[in-house]
């Protein structure tokens, strides 16, 4: 009996050693076989097949995915145990680990994102005393901030009240980004590898990156940007002209308007969602019809150099548009650049434009 116990113990020890050795050996194997090693497990084959048809087809699995010893052993346990999850997906820690790997190839994009508002960390978002003292945190916050977080908001931050002080509960997570690359990009989505354009493409209605997709927390899948809806917004009873740029469909998933408040004329008259309500920043007034991407460049979303894309140095009024009394020139201005109208300044009527022949007509004045 004791002999068999020892044989069994040896078998377990050998299997353990082989597994540990195999795990480290596998890392090398995976990087050299262009995913064939990962596809050896049936449940992984479809994922590897997908990436081979994606814009990232030239990358190996381990170029993007980092797997610790614990992760690899977990994969082996799940694989041999046969209790596969219905959807094989990345955990929040895996997504965050990947974000650092995106930087290896996409330095410019990463730098832009990192310097912009979409790299806000869990601490910045969820322990903001100004917000939290007015509104309690809720699970719906995670739809746009921390969409990859693997639990409800009560497992993320405490206390869930308006008194605070608030703290991100998981150590180390506070400094991690709430909107990592995978919030807006599906790396495995079908597409062709990117190539650098010979010259900068127009920012108005430009091509859609193959990978551009919104990660829907509820479904735990990405939806391609081109398949997302663009809302119909209203300025009072008037439906405003919406730019159909497919890229900005992604923006509306989070920067969305509210339905009309109960008791307002908009609600009684059944007008659509009002432009500028909630988190919506759809251009109206002189900028109506523009896409978000017309002014907000790149991954840092900066609009600092956007005016000169369309405007001559001087406006039709003979003023420098960047110095007009708008929120572009000063955050304190009551004229938000997103929906500023000629009438905001010309309160006694908009003068007739005396534009030179052939000059671009003023959008707002012409009612385009």
């Amino acid at each position: 009996m004791r002999v068999w116990l020892k044989i069994g113990a040896m078998a377990v020890a050998f299997a353990g050693l082989a597994a540990v050795g195999g795990v480290y050996g596998a890392s090398y194997y995976y990087t050299t076989q262009h995913g064939q090693g990962c596809a050896s497990c049936h449940e992984m084959a479809a994922l590897v097949g997908a990436v081979h048809g994606s814009a990232h087809r030239n990358a190996g699995c381990m170029d993007c995915h980092e797997a610790s010893l614990g992760t690899k052993l977990r994969h082996i346990r799940v694989h041999l145990g046969g209790k596969l999850p219905e959807t094989i997906r990345l955990r929040d820690v895996d997504v965050l680990a990947m974000t650092a790997n995106c930087k290896k190839c996409h330095q410019k994009e990463y730098a832009g994102w990192h310097s912009g508002p979409h790299s806000a960390t869990y601490s910045q978002i969820f322990t903001d005393s100004i917000h939290n003292s007015k509104r309690r945190l809720m699970d719906d916050c995670l739809r746009c901030h921390g969409m990859h977080f693997g639990g409800p908001v009560r497992e993320l931050v405490a206390p869930l009240d308006t008194k605070g002080p608030w703290k991100v509960m998981r150590p180390g997570l506070g400094d991690e980004p709430t909107m990592p690359c995978q919030a807006c990009h599906q790396v495995h989505r079908q597409g062709v590898p990117e190539s650098k354009p010979a010259s900068r493409a127009s920012v108005v209605g430009g091509a859609v990156d193959d990978s551009l997709a919104f990660f829907d927390r509820r479904e735990r899948v990405h939806f391609a940007a081109a398949t997302l809806p663009i809302p119909s917004l209203h300025d009072g009873a008037r439906p405003i002209r919406m730019n159909q740029d497919p890229r900005q469909r992604l923006c509306y998933q989070c920067h969305a308007s509210r339905v009309p408040e109960t008791g307002t004329e908009a609600a009684r008259s059944d007008w659509g969602p009002p432009v500028g309500s909630g988190d919506d920043r759809t251009p109206m007034g002189v900028h109506e019809g523009l896409s978000c991407l017309s002014c907000h460049f790149g991954h840092n979303e900066s609009a600092a150099a956007s005016c000169k894309t369309c405007h001559p140095q001087m406006s039709n009024c003979g003023l420098d548009v960047e110095k007009m009394d708008t929120s572009f020139a000063s955050a304190q201005s009551k004229h938000d650049i997103h929906w500023v109208k000629c009438e905001d300044c010309h309160q006694h009527g908009v003068p007739k434009v005396k534009a030179p022949a052939g000059a671009r007509p003023h959008r707002g004045a012409q009612g385009e």
Binding site: R2, V3, K6, I7, G8, A9, M10, A11, V12, A13, F14, A15, A18, G35, Q36, A39, S40, C41, H42, E43, A45, A46, V48, G49, H52, H79, L80, L84, E86, T87, K134, R135, R136, M138, D140, D161, T162, K163, F214, D216, R218, E219, R220, V221, F223, A224, T227, P229, I230, P231, Y252, Q253, A256, S257, R258, V259, S277, G278, D279, D280
Partner: protein, 211 residues
């Protein structure tokens, strides 16, 4: 030391080993076990190695790139034809274009494991029907031939056809999280926006409990 530190229930003390050195001779062993009992003979070492190798080798067979989780390549081709006859493509994607094959393949390895044999037998019969009728595999059939073959499957193996039809509908109209309905295409076909554009929550929590 031995015997003074016991497990709470007093049951495990006989195999509790206290490590005080790197060599087995330095280990203190409780009661009946001796250090030499733990050392392996050559025969035991070989037997253990063989046993562990057998366990690892029996784990699973390797897949290759392009393989599916459950369906074979041939089965997937045949099933794809049947599914696309049930939901053909028009201005909206067909069943296979919407990921129905992915859905069925994934579920046959999980929740629908019990239907795996029915698919194997049903798809084999579909191939037999196709060869008997047209002398070609299902995947080689033309448009009208495919429809005729699928109708024949429905007549002769109604239970299998119903199973496939039911799973096709689930994959086409179900939630994308289950592997089908790629990009919620069927929901958009029905006029539903998915994911919907939603603003922040409308309710004001300041009016309710705030702590």
């Amino acid at each position: 030391m031995v015997g003074t530190e016991r497990w709470p229930d007093g049951r495990m003390d006989e195999i509790a080993i206290h490590f005080y050195g790197s060599h087995p001779s330095q280990w203190e062993l409780p009661m009946s076990l001796k250090a030499k009992d733990l050392l392996l003979t050559r025969r035991e070492l070989v037997a253990g190695g063989v046993a562990s190798s057998a366990v690892l080798a029996a784990g699973c067979g390797p897949a290759k790139l392009g393989d599916r989780e459950s369906l074979t390549e041939g089965e997937a081709r045949t099933l794809g034809v049947i599914c696309d006859e049930i939901v053909p493509g028009d201005e909206f994607p067909s069943a296979t274009q919407a990921g129905v094959l992915d859905y069925i393949d994934r579920q046959l390895a999980r929740a629908y494991r019990r239907h795996r044999d029915a698919y194997t037998e049903g798809l084999e019969q579909a191939e037999r029907l196709s060869r008997a009728k047209f002398g070609k595999t299902v995947a080689e059939l033309g448009g009208a031939e495919r429809l005729e073959t699928v109708r024949a499957i429905e007549r002769e193996n109604g239970a299998f056809f119903e199973l496939v039809r039911s799973h096709t509908m689930e994959g086409y109209y179900g939630s994308p999280r289950h592997g089908g309905n790629r990009d919620a295409v069927s929901w958009r076909m029905l006029g539903l926006e998915e994911p919907p554009v939603r603003g922040r929550a409308q309710f004001d929590l300041r009016k309710g409990s705030s702590s």
